[in-house]
C-alpha cells in the first residue's frame, strides 16, 4: 500500500471523516459533506491561502487555533471545528471585509445568480453593511483582450486568474499591480491578455470581475438551460456543459474531468459556439446548377443523388471528410459507403494527418499515461496550436511531476522549454533523426541539438514506459517521413504506447470506425473483416480504396463520378488547394453535406444541411480513444438533419436498408461488429458514472470508471447542476453512481512491425540547398478555417500568417529591418512578412497555414515529398 492509498481519520465538527495523506482539509471536509466557505481555493490551482474565508478551528498543541482549511493538510486524529462560534465569527468577518469595497451592482452583473460571493453572502453573511466609508473606485470594465473584460471594483484579489495565467497556461500576461488596498489585476500597456486559455479565468473568477465578451449581458443564469457534452473543436475531447437560452447557445463551461481537461477549455473551444448561430448556416437542401442555386426539398435532392449513385461504378464513388461527425454518423456513413455502395475510397483525413495504419495498429496511450510516462517523445506539431488542452496537461506534468520530454521537430514549439532534450531535423529527415536517436550515424547537416543527450535519455528508460505523441507537424511535406519515424520508434521501443496527435474533432473516432481506406470498423483491416460484420453488412468493397489525395488525383483523370464531402471544406483545408479546385471541377456530382457555406460549397452540385454541434445527440472519440457523449440542447436549425439520418435515407432512396431508426440501433451494431467497442453498450455509455467517457478498447486493461468529482459550484461558478443527457438509454438498467469495472473480451490489434506496413522512401531526399528553402507549413489555433471565421469573436483574433527563417537565412536573403519577402514555389508566388527564428535550421522557411485565405497553400504541391521555395526580399 502506498502512502497515497492510506486512510486517515479525522473529526470534523465531531463527525469522523476519512481522508488520504496530502489531502487538504477543505477537500476532505467537502467529501464528508461539510462545505467550508472559500474564494481563493480552487482544486486545480496551487493553494495560496489568501482570502482567509476558509478559516476553521484546528486543534494543535496550544488548543484550537484558526487555520485556513485550504492550506492545512489532513493529519490522523486531527480535530476540526468549522462551525464553532469562533470559526463563524472569523468567516463572517472576512466576508464583511470582502464586501466592504465590493460594489452593489449585482443586478447588472453577469455573475449575479451564480456568484460565489453573492451566494456565500446570502448563506453566511450579515444582513447589513457596517461600512459607511467611500468605496474604492476604478474605471468600470476595461477590455483586457478581445474576449475578456475586467471590472477591478468587483475583484476580491483571490489570485485565481493570475495563478491560472502564470502556473497553468504559463503566460503571465495578467498580474497584480500595486499593493495593499490598491492591489488590482492589470495587463501590461499594449500587451493584452491574448492567451489561448483566457476564458478559463472568467469561468473561475468567484465574482463578476472577469467576464467574457461573447457572454456579456446575454442571459441571466436562472434562465439558462444546460446539458453536458464534449467539445469537438479539436480531438482532446474536453468535457463541458453547453448552456442555452431561448434555443440559442450562450456559453460553454469546462467540466472538471480528471482524465481529460481538468476543468479547462481553450478559447477556440469555449467561444466556438458562435458558429452554431452563424449567418452562414445552410438552411435547406439546394442544387447548384447551370441556372444557379435552386432550393429544393430533401426528397428531390436525395432522389437525384440516389439515381446517380445507382448508375455509378462503386470505384467511382468516394467520400472525403467526416472527422467532425459523431461516431454514429461515422459508422452509418462507413456502412453506407463500404457496405452498400461498395467503395473503400473513404477518407476522414484531408492529407493533413497520418497513415491510418500507424494510428489504428499501435497501442494507444491515455493522456494520463502520457503525463505519467517515464519518457514522452513528441513527434508532432505544436500542441498548443493543435491540441491546446493536451499542451496544458503535458506542460503541467513537466513542471509539477518532472515529466521528461524528448522533442523531435522541425521548429521550436510551446513545449520546447519544458523538454529535457529538443532536437531539430531538416524537413524530410525525421526518420533519419529517429535512427540517430536510436543509435545510427546521422549526417550532422540534417539536424541540430544534443543527440548524445537524447540517446542517453532513451536508453535510460524502460521502453515499455515510453509514450510517443505522433502527429503531422508539416502540411507541406510528405506524411511518409513522420509516419516512418513514428513507426520506427514504436517498433524499436518494445511496449511503447502511442498517443495520437491528430487534431480534427472526431478524426480518431473516424479511424476507429473505419472511415479511412483499407479498414472496417474496429481498427480492423479490410481483408480481416469479421464474420459478425459480414453478417450485418450487405457486402464489402472488393479492393482497397484511395485516400483523399488519391481521390483528387483520380478525379483529375476523370475516374471519380460522385464525391461526398462530409463537412470537408477542401478548398480551404486541403493543403494543395489548387489540386482540390481542379479536381472538384472535374467531378460530375459533388454532394456537400455541411452546416456552413464555405469556399468548397460552390463546387457542390447538391448541398445538404447538416445539424450542428449541440443540435443532436451522439458520441465522439478523442485522441485516447475515449468515447464520450455529445449533448443536445438546441432544436436543429431550419431543415438540417443529422448526418447518420441522411445516409439512412439516401440508402432508402436506393432501395437499401441500413437498419437504423434510432441512435441506439447504431450503437448496438457497433458493439456487435467492432471488437474495439465490444462491451461498450449504450447503457454503459449513458450511465451517470461514465460522464468522463470510456476509453476503448475496454479490455486493453481493466478500465476502472469512477464517478467524476463532485462539481464544486464555488470552484466553477455557473455549473449549477449535472444534467444527464445522451443517447436515449435502452431498457437495460443503468449502472449506478458507484464505481464500475469493465473487463471486456481480449482485444489486441494483430500486427507485425508497423514499418513493414508502410511504403519505402522513394529515392534521394535532399538536405539544405543554397537558395532553395525547404518549406514547413504549420497549423495555428486561430487559422482562417470556417469554424473560426464564422464565430464572430474568434474571427477577430485571426492574424495574417507569418513566415520564419533562421537568422543566417535572414541575412542570406538580404533582409534587414522589414521582413517582407516574396516566396516562389509550386509555380506560384506570394508575399509574406518574415521574422527571425533562431530555433530553425538554416535553409528552412516555416510558414503558418492560412486556410481559407488560400495563399500559403499555393506554394506547395502534395506530389512533392519536400516542397522547396525560392525567396527574395521585396
Amino acid at each position: 500500500m502506498t502512502d497515497s492509498e492510506k486512510t486517515l481519520k479525522l473529526t470534523v465538527n465531531g463527525k469522523e471523516v476519512e481522508s488520504a495523506p496530502g489531502e487538504m482539509l477543505i477537500a476532505a471536509a467537502e467529501k464528508a459533506g461539510v462545505l467550508i466557505p472559500r474564494f481563493c481555493y480552487h482544486p486545480r490551482l496551487e493553494p495560496v491561502g489568501v482570502c482567509r474565508m476558509c478559516l476553521v478551528e484546528v486543534k494543535g498543541p496550544r488548543g484550537f487555533t484558526l487555520q485556513p482549511a485550504c492550506y492545512i493538510s489532513v493529519a490522523d486524529g486531527m480535530e476540526v471545528l468549522t462551525d464553532s462560534d469562533k470559526a463563524k465569527k472569523a468567516q463572517d468577518g472576512v466576508l464583511e471585509f470582502l464586501l466592504a469595497n465590493h460594489p452593489l451592482d449585482c443586478p447588472v452583473c453577469d455573475k449575479g445568480g451564480e456568484c460565489p460571493l453573492q451566494d456565500q453572502t446570502l448563506t453566511f453573511g450579515p444582513g447589513e453593511s457596517r461600512f459607511i466609508e467611500e468605496k474604492r473606485h476604478f474605471e468600470k470594465p476595461i477590455a483586457i483582450s478581445k474576449l475578456v473584460y475586467l471590472d477591478r471594483e468587483r475583484c476580491i484579489q483571490c489570485d485565481r486568474c493570475t495563478r491560472f495565467a502564470a502556473d497553468i497556461a504559463g503566460e503571465a500576461l495578467i498580474d497584480f499591480e500595486g499593493r495593499g488596498g490598491s492591489l488590482h489585476i492589470t495587463t501590461f500597456p499594449d500587451k493584452p491578455f491574448a492567451s489561448y486559455f483566457s476564458g478559463n479565468t472568467a469561468q473561475i473568477c468567484p465574482v463578476g470581475a472577469l467576464t467574457t465578451t461573447p457572454y456579456r449581458f446575454k442571459a441571466r443564469p436562472w434562465d439558462l438551460e444546460q446539458v453536458e457534452s464534449t467539445c469537438v473543436s479539436c480531438a482532446v475531447g474536453c468535457q463541458m456543459v453547453v448552456q442555452s437560452s431561448e434555443n440559442e447557445i450562450v456559453r460553454y463551461l469546462g467540466i472538471d474531468s480528471e482524465a481529460v481537461n481538468q476543468s479547462w477549455l481553450c478559447d477556440k473551444g469555449r467561444f466556438g459556439f458562435e458558429s452554431v448561430s452563424s449567418a452562414e448556416r445552410i438552411a435547406s437542401p439546394y442544387l447548384n446548377g447551370a441556372s444557379g442555386v435552386v432550393e429544393t426539398g430533401w426528397s428531390q435532392a436525395l432522389d437525384a443523388i440516389a439515381k446517380t449513385l445507382k448508375s455509378a461504378e462503386a470505384d467511382s464513388v468516394a467520400v472525403i471528410g467526416g472527422s467532425h461527425m459523431a461516431n454514429e454518423d461515422v459508422y452509418t456513413w462507413v456502412k453506407f459507403a463500404k457496405g452498400i455502395i461498395g467503395t473503400d475510397s473513404v477518407d476522414a483525413q484531408l492529407d493533413d494527418g497520418l497513415d491510418p495504419k500507424v494510428v489504428a495498429l499501435s497501442d494507444r496511450a491515455t493522456i494520463q499515461e502520457a503525463t505519467q510516462a517515464k519518457l514522452l517523445i513528441l513527434l508532432t506539431g505544436d500542441l498548443r496550436e493543435e491540441l491546446p488542452i493536451l499542451f496544458l496537461r503535458i506542460r503541467s506534468a513537466a513542471k509539477k511531476m518532472g515529466l521528461k520530454i524528448l522533442e523531435i521537430s522541425q521548429s521550436e514549439s510551446s513545449l520546447t522549454g519544458d523538454a529535457a532534450v529538443s532536437l531539430r531535423y531538416f524537413p524530410g529527415h525525421a526518420e533519419d533523426l529517429v535512427d540517430g536517436v536510436l543509435g545510427a550515424e546521422i549526417d550532422p547537416g540534417l539536424y541540430s541539438g544534443d543527440l548524445q543527450a537524447a540517446r542517453a535519455l532513451v536508453s535510460s528508460v524502460d521502453p515499455g514506459s515510453v509514450v510517443v505523441v505522433g502527429g503531422r507537424e508539416n502540411l507541406a511535406g510528405s506524411s511518409l517521413d513522420p509516419e516512418r519515424a513514428i513507426a520506427k520508434l514504436l517498433d524499436t521501443l518494445a511496449g511503447a504506447k502511442f498517443l495520437s496527435g491528430l487534431r480534427r474533432g472526431n478524426v480518431n473516432g473516424a479511424i476507429d470506425l473505419g472511415m479511412v481506406p483499407g479498414f472496417v470498423p474496429g481498427r480492423v483491416r479490410l481483408e480481416s473483416a469479421s464474420d459478425s460484420l459480414k453478417a450485418r453488412w450487405k457486402s464489402l468493397p472488393s479492393k482497397a480504396g484511395r485516400n483523399s489525395k488519391e481521390i483528387l488525383e483520380a478525379a483529375l483523370r476523370g475516374e471519380i463520378k460522385v464525391l461526398f464531402l462530409l463537412g470537408a471544406d477542401l478548398v480551404s483545408d486541403f493543403g494543395d488547394s489548387a489540386l482540390a479546385e481542379r479536381a472538384l471541377s472535374k467531378i460530375p456530382m459533388v454532394v456537400g453535406i455541411d452546416t456552413l457555406t464555405n469556399r468548397t460549397t460552390q463546387y457542390c452540385s447538391v448541398v445538404l444541411p447538416a445539424t450542428a454541434f449541440a443540435e443532436r445527440h451522439g458520441s465522439t472519440t478523442n485522441i485516447e480513444g475515449r468515447v464520450s457523449i455529445l449533448g443536445k440542447k438546441l432544436v436543429g436549425f431550419a431543415l438540417s438533419r443529422p448526418e447518420w439520418m441522411i445516409a439512412v435515407e439516401l440508402a432508402a432512396y436506393m432501395g437499401e436498408d441500413l437498419g437504423f431508426e434510432h441512435l441506439q440501433d447504431i450503437w448496438e451494431e457497433i458493439q456487435e461488429v467492432s471488437p474495439l467497442h465490444r462491451g461498450l453498450s449504450i447503457s454503459v455509455l449513458g450511465a451517470p458514472s461514465a460522464k468522463e467517457g470510456i476509453v476503448v478498447p475496454l479490455s486493453a486493461s481493466k478500465v476502472q470508471i469512477t464517478s467524476r468529482r463532485v462539481l464544486d459550484p464555488i470552484a466553477t461558478p455557473g455549473i449549477t447542476s449535472v444534467g444527464v443527457s445522451g443517447p436515449p438509454s435502452s431498457s437495460a438498467a443503468l449502472p449506478g453512481e458507484a464505481d464500475m469495472v469493465f473487463t471486456g473480451e481480449a482485444y489486441s490489434p494483430a500486427r507485425s512491425k508497423l514499418l513493414d506496413l508502410l511504403a519505402d522512401k522513394d529515392g534521394a531526399n535532399p538536405g539544405p540547398e543554397a537558395d532553395n528553402f525547404a518549406l514547413v507549413v504549420s497549423k495555428r489555433l486561430y487559422d482562417h478555417g470556417v469554424e473560426v471565421l464564422s464565430a464572430k469573436h474568434l474571427s477577430e483574433l485571426v492574424s495574417p500568417s507569418k513566415g520564419r527563417v533562421s537568422p543566417r537565412s535572414w541575412e542570406q536573403i538580404g533582409l534587414n529591418g522589414s521582413g517582407l519577402t516574396r516566396l516562389q514555389g509550386n509555380g506560384a508566388s506570394i508575399e509574406l512578412e518574415l521574422i527571425q527564428d533562431p530555433s530553425l535550421l538554416d535553409g528552412v522557411v516555416k510558414v503558418e497555414f492560412d486556410g481559407a485565405l488560400g495563399e500559403v497553400s499555393k506554394l506547395f504541391g502534395v506530389e512533392s515529398s519536400t516542397n522547396r521555395v525560392k525567396m527574395e526580399k521585396v
Binding site: 502564470a166 503566460e171 503571465a172 500576461l173 495578467i174 498580474d175 497584480f176 499591480e177 500595486g178 499593493r179 492589470t186 495587463t187 501590461f188 500597456p189 499594449d190 500587451k191
Partner: protein, 214 residues
C-alpha cells in the same frame, strides 16, 4: 529611446551575473533604468522582462509594489517628507503642508518645471532628526519651515548636486568585482567541508562517549 544605453546594458549584464537566478535582478535593473531615465518607462520594463526572463506584466506587477519605483515621470528631486509617528510627534504633517505651499503642488504631484515631486513618506528611519525628509533618498533633518525653504532653494540653484544626484541614481558607488567563485565550485567546496565537519563531529562524539564510558 528609453531602453538601456550600451553602457547601461553592460552594467545590467554585470548585475544579472550576481544572482543564481536572473529574475532576482528585476529590482536592481528597475533601479538602473530609473538611473538612466529618472523613472521606469514601458520600454525599460519590456527590456527588463527580456533580461530576467519574465513577462512585462510581471515586471510591472513587481515594480508597482515598491514605492521607490515610479512608472510615471517624476521630478529631478523627489522630496519625501516623513509623516510617520516619530515625525508626526515633531511636526511632520505641518512640514508637509508647508512643503506643499513652498513648492506650490499637492502631495504626489510634480512641479511644472519638472524639478520637484513631493511625497508623503512612511518612516525613513531618521527619527532622531524629526521632522525629517529625504531628497532622492538622501537624508535631511530636523527641518523647520525656514530650513526647508533653504533646502529647496539650494536644490533649485544646483548647490547640492554633489550630495544629491538626480532621481533614480541609488548609488554612485558601483560594485567593482564580479562573482569570484562560480556557484558550482562553491557547492563542491561545501560538500567537501561538510564531509570533513561530519567526520570531526563523529570523532568528537566518539571521544565523548568513550570518556563517558570510562
Amino acid at each position: 529611446m528609453s531602453r538601456f544605453t550600451k553602457e547601461m546594458e553592460s552594467r545590467a549584464h554585470q548585475i544579472l551575473a550576481l544572482y543564481p537566478e536572473r529574475r532576482s535582478a528585476t529590482i536592481p535593473l528597475c533601479h538602473l533604468a530609473q538611473e538612466q531615465n529618472g523613472y521606469l518607462t514601458e520600454e525599460s520594463m519590456i527590456q527588463i522582462a527580456e533580461l530576467v526572463g519574465t513577462t512585462p506584466a510581471e515586471v510591472l506587477g513587481a515594480a508597482s509594489f515598491y514605492d521607490m519605483l515610479h512608472t510615471e515621470p517624476v521630478g529631478k528631486y523627489v522630496v519625501g517628507v516623513c509623516t510617520n509617528i516619530a515625525c508626526l510627534l515633531q511636526g511632520g504633517e505641518e512640514l508637509l503642508s508647508h512643503a506643499e505651499e513652498k513648492l506650490g503642488i499637492p502631495t504626489g504631484a510634480t512641479t511644472d518645471d519638472g524639478m520637484f515631486t513631493l511625497e508623503d513618506m512612511e518612516c525613513i528611519a531618521h527619527c532622531d532628526h524629526a521632522p525629517a525628509l529625504q531628497v532622492n533618498y538622501r537624508f535631511f533633518g530636523p527641518l523647520t519651515n525656514d530650513s526647508f525653504d533653504t533646502l529647496v532653494d539650494d536644490l533649485s540653484a544646483g548647490k547640492l548636486e554633489s550630495e544629491v544626484p538626480p532621481h533614480g541614481t541609488l548609488s554612485r558607488v558601483q560594485r567593482k568585482h564580479p562573482i569570484a567563485v562560480p556557484l558550482e565550485e562553491i557547492v563542491r567546496h561545501r560538500r567537501d567541508s561538510d564531509a570533513k565537519e561530519g567526520e570531526r563531529l563523529a570523532a568528537k562524539a566518539a571521544a565523548e562517549s568513550k570518556e563517558g564510558s570510562n
